[in-house]
């Protein structure tokens, strides 16, 4: 209901909006950009990304912001909602030639008031390590582009590591570097270290250790973004092939995967308790996936174009102290599933749900301790210049697959696959695939608290299926690759994505809930490229080179309240949305 047009002001840029917790206000004086505001054409440039670091500064202004605009990189004191931004005094500013910064990340572990380690990735594939405070440090990795020649899409320090970082590229590869090691003067030679469905990991074949320590090959096409889980155990990647893949970072096992409804996936974010992943992509949707259940929980439709960034708002989550939530209902729910005609699928779903919702595995890993999150808030920004906020409530999370379907769709499904035979997704395939999806992650998740007996039961149950499935896949491969040998890899992916439709990894549109956003506002003239939540504000950046700060309800800084004259008439605030689910 919140997405309906607001009369004629549809294309107006919003400077404030209301949610159920109150009014968010744009802090016009807290806008960060390049110091000299000339006409800047964002067209054809790399997206503006924003990184933050909080230093233990006695003065209380410990926040620092880093953002890239075109060929430039800026490092400022971030004053947030408290004080106006002073753009005349960047702590550091760098201008690059020939290669542009694309992304950056601070090392939270090693940061002190007078030294930070900032990693920067570039369009031509290089990586730089700088210290924008001390300014002495400057190390280059992949300088000669011997490791990878394609654009860096995402760069992150490995959680808890003072010196290792992960870099993803358009080439579909990720590399693990150690900042202390050299990159060598020759192209690295690799040897296979680990392999799995749709990915492989290689190590560098040299006598002396050098960078990269590992090379990950993931899916087809660009790895657009990756994110470590807050619990640090997993890393999730999203690729141009439309797949989100979750890996156990240390064991390098595939822990789960999901396919977009269509098109590439562009962004990924973990819930603060590491239980859910939200992605955004070229299907204009946000998709929520549950790690415990290995299934798509719901999708969200609100954007008018591709979704560039998704971010959980850990400060706007509802927490309940009572851990003794009643899960007994879930089995009954599944008994009424319209999938009942496919017995095996039904059984598999039941088994996985039962084991995964058992209290042991669903304990919150939230930093706050024992509390359990019952409602999540996340935001998304896209190429449509819109900001959407979404609420993920308990009733949505616990809703079983297919629950909300309209009767026509149910009957269509119940009468078998015949009406959908054009999709070439025979039910047999759905079932076998389903079990594989559950089987792979299950082994790795056994360490996260699932009782052993269940693991074993499940393992034996799936073993037979997996053989059959492998057999199946080989046959597929053989059938498809007859024509041309070198297309083998691509065809398999294509085949996969068709096969996945109707499974928990890629449900049909009617199979899962389609959420509506709580709030959906046009907040910029240009594509939005970054979104970060802070305790007292929300920060978004757009392609034009502006970084906007929105004060949370009641957090408008005193200094600004006097100076900023927020047009009082700006908008007829909407009543707080009562619910955000579209049924």
């Amino acid at each position: 209901m919140a997405t309906q047009n607001e009369g004629g002001g549809k294309d107006e840029i919003k400077t404030q909006f209301m949610t159920r917790e109150g009014i968010y206000k744009l802090m016009t004086l807290s806008e960060y950009s390049r110091p000299t505001r000339g006409a800047f054409n964002g067209q054809g440039n790399t997206p503006v990304k924003v990184s933050f670091i909080t230093l233990n500064d006695q003065s209380g202004t410990g926040d620092r912001i880093c953002f890239n605009i075109g060929k430039e990189l800026y490092f400022y004191v971030y004053k947030g909602v408290r004080k106006a931004a002073d753009l005349t005094k960047p702590i550091d500013k760098r201008v690059y030639k020939g290669t542009f910064p694309t992304c950056h990340d601070f090392n939270q572990l090693t940061a002190t008031t007078d030294s930070v380690m900032l990693l920067v990735g570039f369009t031509a594939g290089q990586v730089q390590l700088i210290d924008p405070i001390k300014k002495e440090l400057s190390k280059l990795y992949n300088e000669e582009r011997l490791i990878d020649r394609s654009k860096v899409t995402c760069i992150k320090w490995i959680p808890g590591s003072p010196n290792q970082f992960l870099v993803s590229h358009v080439s579909g590869q990720m590399y693990v570097y150690n900042e202390e090691l050299p990159c060598g003067t020759t192209s690295p030679h690799y040897q296979l270290f680990k392999q799995g469905d749709g990915f492989s990991v290689h190590t560098c074949k040299t006598k002396s250790t050098r960078n990269p320590l590992y090379r990950w090959l993931v899916g087809e096409g660009s790895i657009n973004e990756f994110a470590f889980s807050p619990c640090t155990k997993y890393v999730a990647t999203v690729s141009q092939d439309g797949f989100m893949r979750v890996f156990d970072y240390n064991s390098m096992e595939l822990a789960g995967m999901m396919k977009s409804y269509f098109g590439g996936l562009l962004c990924v974010c973990w819930s603060p308790d590491s239980k859910y992943i939200v992605t955004g992509g070229e299907d204009d949707l946000v998709t929520v996936w549950s790690l415990n259940e290995r299934r798509v929980v719901c999708r969200g439709q609100g954007h008018k174009s591709w979704v560039n960034v998704v971010a959980f708002d850990r400060y706007t989550t509802s927490v309940c102290d009572n851990e003794m939530l009643d899960f007994s209902g879930s089995d009954d729910d599944f008994n009424h599933m319209p999938h009942a005609n496919t017995g095996l699928l039904h059984e598999a779903l039941r088994t996985s749900t039962r084991s995964n919702t058992s209290r042991g595995s669903s304990k919150s890993i939230d930093s706050k301790g024992v509390n359990m999150i019952t409602s999540y808030r996340f935001g998304s920004v896209g190429q449509d210049t819109m900001l959407c906020l979404w609420d993920l409530t308990e009733d949505i999370l616990r809703m079983p697959v297919g629950r909300h379907r309209t009767s026509t769709v149910v009957s269509q499904n119940a009468c078998g696959v015949s009406p959908k035979s054009n999709n070439s997704v025979p039910s047999q395939n759905c079932v076998t695939n389903m079990t594989l999806d559950n089987a792979v992650p299950h082994h790795s998740s056994s360490s996260s608290g699932v009782t052993t007996s269940l693991t074993q039961k499940f393992a034996t149950f799936t073993l037979g299926d997996r053989k059959e499935k492998d057999h199946d896949r080989k046959e597929h491969k053989r059938n498809f690759s007859l024509g041309s040998k070198n297309n083998d890899k691509v065809i398999r992916t294509i085949d996969d994505s068709l096969r996945l439709l109707g499974t928990p990894s890629c449900p049909r549109l009617d199979d899962v809930l389609l959420l509506e956003p709580l709030v959906c506002k046009k907040v910029a003239h240009e594509r939005l490229t970054a979104l970060v939540f802070h305790e007292d504000c929300m920060v978004a950046a757009c392609q034009e080179g502006y970084v906007y700060t929105w004060a949370r309800p009641g957090k408008v800084g005193l200094a600004q309240q006097h100076t900023v004259t927020t047009p009082p008439q700006t908008l007829p605030c909407q009543p707080p949305a009562l619910g955000s689910t579209a049924l």
Binding site: N41, G42, Q43, G44, V170, G221, S222, G242, Y261, F262, G263, G264, E282, D283, D284, Q301, K304, S305, W306, Q383, D384, T385, T406, T408, V409, P419, K420, N422, N423, S424, N487, V490, I494, S497, L498, L501, G502, R508, L509, H525, E526, R527, Q543
Partner: protein, 348 residues
């Protein structure tokens, strides 16, 4: 020319060059890029090319020259070239086109979408006429026109649902289409434009709807959704808008993104193949600032490559460069190179 051709071959690499594939530019006969761009896009729409070449095989002794025979000859001449790359002159085809339709009988820049429409309908009519000649000989009498391979490839069905707001009765009517023309908005995706195409419209005041149940004019809600998804989905972006104050058409260079992979959201509840997955195979791109000015080029996917056809010039391009043809986000510039007709091939 020769330098460019061999350059392309080098770029692709002789071991990578797809067998039995030919990348030939088309000579421009004076503002015929609207035609060249559409022909290239169609040539790389696999089912269409196959049917046209098949037609050529079947019609070896065809005496009468038609637009279809000219098209078949052109496709055949490209497909049977000894060289892998080069140029051909679609002279006969252009001559025939100019002869058959006075609209195209000049040296003005034409609308590529209009040409596509004309070509598909003409080919379909010719095929139907040929079929009827055969059937009339045996059955004698008027026969309902049978669907041709043009319909098999391009035709989908829309269902037009109207709900009377007085009696709540829903009536629906089906219409076939060969392509969909969608309105464009700034900073949106093709999916959004398609959803806009199917959004609910309220018929009121002077546009009231005559309800058969109420036997009177009533307010009603209307929407058009896709009931049968075509094998090859052709999407026309309505980038040329008539501006009354200017008394002419102006170009909307809006940035409309289109993914390489597409499914539809705007299908009816009873759609027979609602989850069809489409792959982008070709895009006709309009360059410049007006419908009767500027230039048309096309980008096509062939095997694993993306190629850019600009009349007689053919270049290999990266899939990541497709974003250059999404359009512009600023309204100041109008001179864009933006996707105009998108061809999505069903993945089956």
């Amino acid at each position: 020319m020769g330098a460019n051709a061999s350059q392309l071959e080098k770029e692709i690499g002789s071991d990578q060059f797809p067998a039995n594939e030919h990348y030939f530019g088309l000579v421009n006969f004076g503002n015929t890029c609207y035609c060249n761009s559409v022909l290239q896009a169609l040539f790389f729409c696999k089912p269409f090319r196959e049917k046209v070449l098949q037609y050529k095989q079947q019609q070896k002794n065809q005496k009468r020259e038609t637009l279809l025979t000219c098209l078949a000859d052109l496709f055949h001449s490209i497909a049977t070239q000894k060289k892998k790359v080069g140029t051909v002159a679609p002279k006969k085809f252009i001559q025939r086109l100019r002869k058959e339709n006075e609209l195209f009988d000049n040296y003005m820049q034409q609308d590529a979408h209009e040409f596509l429409n004309y070509l598909l309908n003409t080919v379909a009519d010719l095929l139907q006429a040929e079929k009827q000649v055969k059937t009339r000989a045996s059955t004698n009498g008027t026969v309902k026109p049978e669907p041709t391979w043009v319909h098999d490839i391009f035709q989908g069905t829309l269902t037009n649902e109207t709900r009377c707001l007085n009696c709540e009765t829903v009536s629906s009517k089906d219409e076939d289409f060969l392509d969909l023309s969608v309105d464009v908005e700034q900073n949106t995706s093709i999916s959004h434009c398609l959803r806009g195409f199917s959004s609910t419209e309220t018929l009121s005041s002077e546009y009231k709807y005559y309800c058969e149940v109420c036997c009177s004019k009533q307010e009603a809600q209307k929407r058009m959704r896709v009931k049968k998804l075509p094998n090859l989905l052709a999407l026309h972006l309505k980038r040329f808008k008539y501006m009354e104050q200017l008394n002419r058409h102006t170009k909307l260079s809006y940035r409309v993104v289109f993914p390489l992979e597409l499914r539809l959201f705007n299908k009816s509840d009873d759609a027979c193949n609602p989850d069809r997955m489409y792959d982008l195979t070709a895009v006709v791109v309009h360059c410049g600032n007006g419908p009767n000015r500027g230039h048309y080029i096309s980008i096509v996917k062939s095997h694993r490559f993306w190629l850019l056809f600009d009349d007689d010039i053919v270049d290999k391009m990266e899939a990541s460069s497709i974003e250059e043809f999404f359009g512009l986000t600023s309204d100041v510039q109008k001179n864009s190179e933006s996707g105009y007709i998108l061809f999505y091939q069903s993945r089956e």
